[in-house]
């Protein structure tokens, strides 16, 4: 065992945050924060380069005793399911720093410290192989996120931050009891891999399934516990929205993948129809709500609810296409919706309005901006050639074979998506130029293009050549499916 690569990945941003505390000038703070996130991204690329796609086993594992009395370990490791998200988190980390470069003009240091702390904790969640450690990272994220929304957000930030905090806290405390119940029923261990190997009675499984469901559903968020999301998104600063949409929403789905499906397979199968129906509901309901929005951020926020519905649908289709599509779609949603929030943020910095009605004819004023926007809108609509097409196609094909009605509802949701996204683009980019002319909008500058380009690469890469990404997921997804259906599979 050589370098503890995962520890380095997790703690580099944390160390960076500590360094920032001692800096005085805002410019230095920004550059150091950028440097740290880029360094972390480089570490993640190194990690992916050394990732073995042929096995579902945990890689780069590290284990140290933490609280021996409870068998709690500091254990890190990644498999194909977490690898993509570790990478996505690091990728969006640097995007967030770039997005906040001028948008955050007060308490810059505190903001960057929160941002880096957040990144460290999110990376920790995806790397943790110990349930207790996972929970510590999972719950600690509330603190920096609460501050990011509440201190640097819009006018209604305090209410939004509160609502975010209480919803997620109320969800996770039940999760905590669930974890402890699991500990005592699963052989008194917090080791995630050991717990997945346990065969729990169905009664315990279904109890735990619902305890976990509350926590994960709030984070995803699934209808009907989604109401915190639009508030949080609308009020959060751009970087906050990117984190929320790009990574935080993935945590709920990741929880299903890491805990619900492998540890509670019988309950997962038993309740899959319920979960599929809730997903279909989210897809259609989120799409309808998005259709009705005039606020750009709200539109993207509601579209997230709809898109995450696709993800949960893929997961609970409980077949390989659905599962791989769902996981890929999580990654895609992070890239695409993260970028969309970035676009909304860029335009908001210039005009200080988010109302769609205030815009029109942006094509003329900011051609580069609108060209990129078009690409990401198409990606969000899942047009062939973009990343989401691959994911959504897999999810739909998985969903149809699981449940015809649910698949049909999802197609309706996809249509709705086209409607609100094209409608929004039409009003903002095309339309009469007179409307937005009064703002004197500058086109994007080099820094902003850098942030956008880093995400554009993945829209096209996954869209045109998804194989490397599916390869990463493949072995682990197959293994997970075998666990759910109670079959043993080789390494």
């Amino acid at each position: 065992m050589g370098l503890p690569l995962l520890s380095l990945i997790v703690f580099t941003p944390a160390a960076g945050a500590a360094v920032l505390m001692f800096l005085r000038s805002d410019a230095a703070v920004r550059w150091v924060a950028l440097g740290v996130t880029v360094l972390d991204l480089a570490l993640c690329i190194a990690m992916l380069a050394g990732f073995d796609t042929t096995t579902h086993a945990m890689q780069f594992t590290e284990t140290r005793q933490w609280v021996p009395a409870f068998g709690i370990n500091y254990a890190l490791g990644i498999d194909g399911i977490s690898a993509l998200f570790v990478f996505l988190t690091a990728l969006l980390g640097s995007t967030c720093v770039l997005a906040s470069w001028v948008a955050i003009d007060r308490k810059v240091k505190e903001f960057m410290v929160s941002l880096l702390a957040m990144e460290a904790l999110m990376l920790g969640v995806f790397c943790a192989l110990d349930l207790f450690l996972f929970y510590v990272f999972w719950e600690a994220m509330l603190i920096p996120m609460y501050l990011i929304i509440g201190v640097w957000g819009g006018d209604g930030r305090v209410y939004a931050a509160f609502k975010f905090f209480l919803y997620t806290l109320a969800g996770s405390v039940l999760f905590l009891v669930g974890i402890i119940v699991l500990y005592f029923n699963g052989g008194e261990t917090f080791d995630i891999l050991a717990l997945t190997a346990q065969d729990l009675p169905f009664g315990v499984q279904s109890w735990l399934f619902f305890a976990f469901l509350v926590a994960f559903a709030v984070k995803v968020p699934m209808v009907p516990v989604h109401t915190w999301l639009p508030h949080a998104h609308v009020q959060a600063p751009t970087a906050g929205s990117i984190i929320l949409a790009g990574v935080l929403l993935k945590m709920g789905a990741y929880g299903f993948l890491r805990f619900s499906l492998p540890m509670l397979p019988d309950a997962s199968v038993y309740f899959s129809t319920l979960m599929l129906s809730l997903s279909a509901l989210a897809i259609v309901y989120g799409g309808l709500l998005a259709l009705a929005q005039d606020d750009l951020k709200k539109l993207v926020a509601y579209s997230s609810i709809s898109h995450m519905g696709f993800v949960t649908m893929g997961l609970f289709a409980l077949n390989l296409r659905g599962l791989e599509g769902g996981i890929l779609q999580m990654f895609n949603h992070g890239v695409t919706t993260g970028a969309l929030f970035l676009f909304v943020g860029l335009i908001y910095e210039r005009t200080h309005t988010r109302s769609i009605a205030d815009y029109g004819g942006m094509m003329k004023a900011a051609p580069v901006y609108t060209a990129f926007l078009a690409l990401f809108i198409l990606s969000s609509m899942a047009l062939p050639g973009t990343n989401s097409f691959v994911g959504e196609l897999l999810v739909l094909s998985g969903g149809f074979s699981a449940n015809l009605a649910v698949g049909a509802a999802a197609v309706l949701g996809a249509l709705l998506g086209a409607a609100y996204l094209l409608g929004m683009y039409g009003k903002v980019a095309l339309g009469p130029a007179s409307v937005s002319a009064r703002f004197k909008i500058r086109d994007v500058n080099a820094r902003e293009i850098a942030a956008i380009l880093s995400l554009t690469v993945f829209v096209l890469w996954v869209g045109l050549y998804p194989k490397p990404f599916l390869n990463i997921i493949d072995a682990s997804a197959k293994h997970l499916l075998a666990q759910v259906h109670g079959e043993e599979s080789g390494p």
Binding site: V67, A69, Y135, I143, Y146, L147, L166, V177, I180
Partner: protein
Amino acid sequence: MTAAALLQSVLASLPEIVVVTGACTLLILGQFVQKRQEHFLVWASVAIVLIAALATLMLAGEVRPAYTGMFVADRFAVFFKFVFYLATVLTFLLSRKYADIEGIGSSEYYVLLLFALSGMMIMASATDLMSIYVGLELVVLCTYVLTGFLRRERRSNEAALKYVILGAVSTGIFLYGVSLVYGLTGTTQLDAMAAAVTGGPLDPGLLLAVVFIVAGLVFKVGAVPFHMWVPDVYEGAPTTITAFMSVGPKAAGFAVILRVFLNPLVAASDVWIIVAVIAVVTMALGSFVALVQDNFKRLLAYSSIAHAGFAIFGVVAGGADGIASVMLYLLIYSFMNLGIFGIVTMMRNGDFSGEVIEDYAGLAKQHPGLALLMLLYLFSLAGIPPTAGFFAKFYVLAALVERGFVMLAVIAVLLSAVAAYFYIRIVMVIYMREPERTFDPALTPLVRATLAFTAAGTIGIGLFPSWFLRLAQHSAFGG
């Protein structure tokens, strides 16, 4: 009692003797201390506590029963005594500047705190209802006086009066329970009581006695239905004394509760159902009423009621892990609560009371360091990892689930989510509001040291709970 037994007894109670003797000496010396030399009082008091701590440590090796079964120096007592030392020393360190500002520079302040400390120590070691009573009264008599120490303030006087009257009633109830026990079993020793009733069916009179004793003890930790004094007394007392009372005497009350409640006599009598109800109601009341408080000290009073409720869940769980969970909870609570009261104490400067929540508006802008500390304590009180408060909560819940009380665990966590709301509300005021006026915190090196120490404890136990967990498990009896 033979000379040898007496020597043994004196040895076992050496720390108590050190504190009492020290307090008496200080009482006399205090009369000769000039104005502007009050530092001497702080250092002398701290020195007395440290000597007692040293003595405790040296005697910690073995179990020493003393005074014909009324008193015992065991690891359980040692653990609690260290919590008391911690609370008392930090209170001394916080007091100096505050006493100056409030004009309460007299030596009695320190002497009374030392006497209260000795009372708490006796409570932790008591194994007989009579010695419990002696310790209990020693503590409350001192705190009555300390509560009313701001003589010029009506609020302080009123609080003291209320405390005395309600305290006397609870003492009466407790003594009545004791007399019933003595009448029915012929003994007041906890072990002998247990022996007297094993075998036969439980006497309903004895059950009644237990209920009375429970009521008396519950008053001391501020649990429902005997919580009414807490907000008024906490608000009216000098802030340093509030800090002390919320930690020291409360921990002492729990020490007694653990000894009495987990005694076979009580364990046999299904009393845990009463205790469970008390825990739920206490936590619910503390959490919900705290939501609407505007005065910070009152809010912390309700918060401390809620925390007492959470700790009682550990008593319900029982067993070695249940006991250890309560002990660890109290230790961690001491760190975070003294920390936050340290900040409240320091906010009292000039015409600034530091008691209204509005006073903290924009603290983050003016004093980012203090705001960060406050953030730490508040999140710890709310039980968010990686702070120590989370681990405290986790251990109690684990003990509950282990005993099969999953429903109680669910209730406890849901109520703690409610409680999180008001801690987060204060974070909001600190970080998300604009400061209304500038203020100058009463920061002395001693206060700084206190805050640094409590912060180190709050974050340190959170990140490395292992050692403290072992300590608590090692010190719990019945394991």
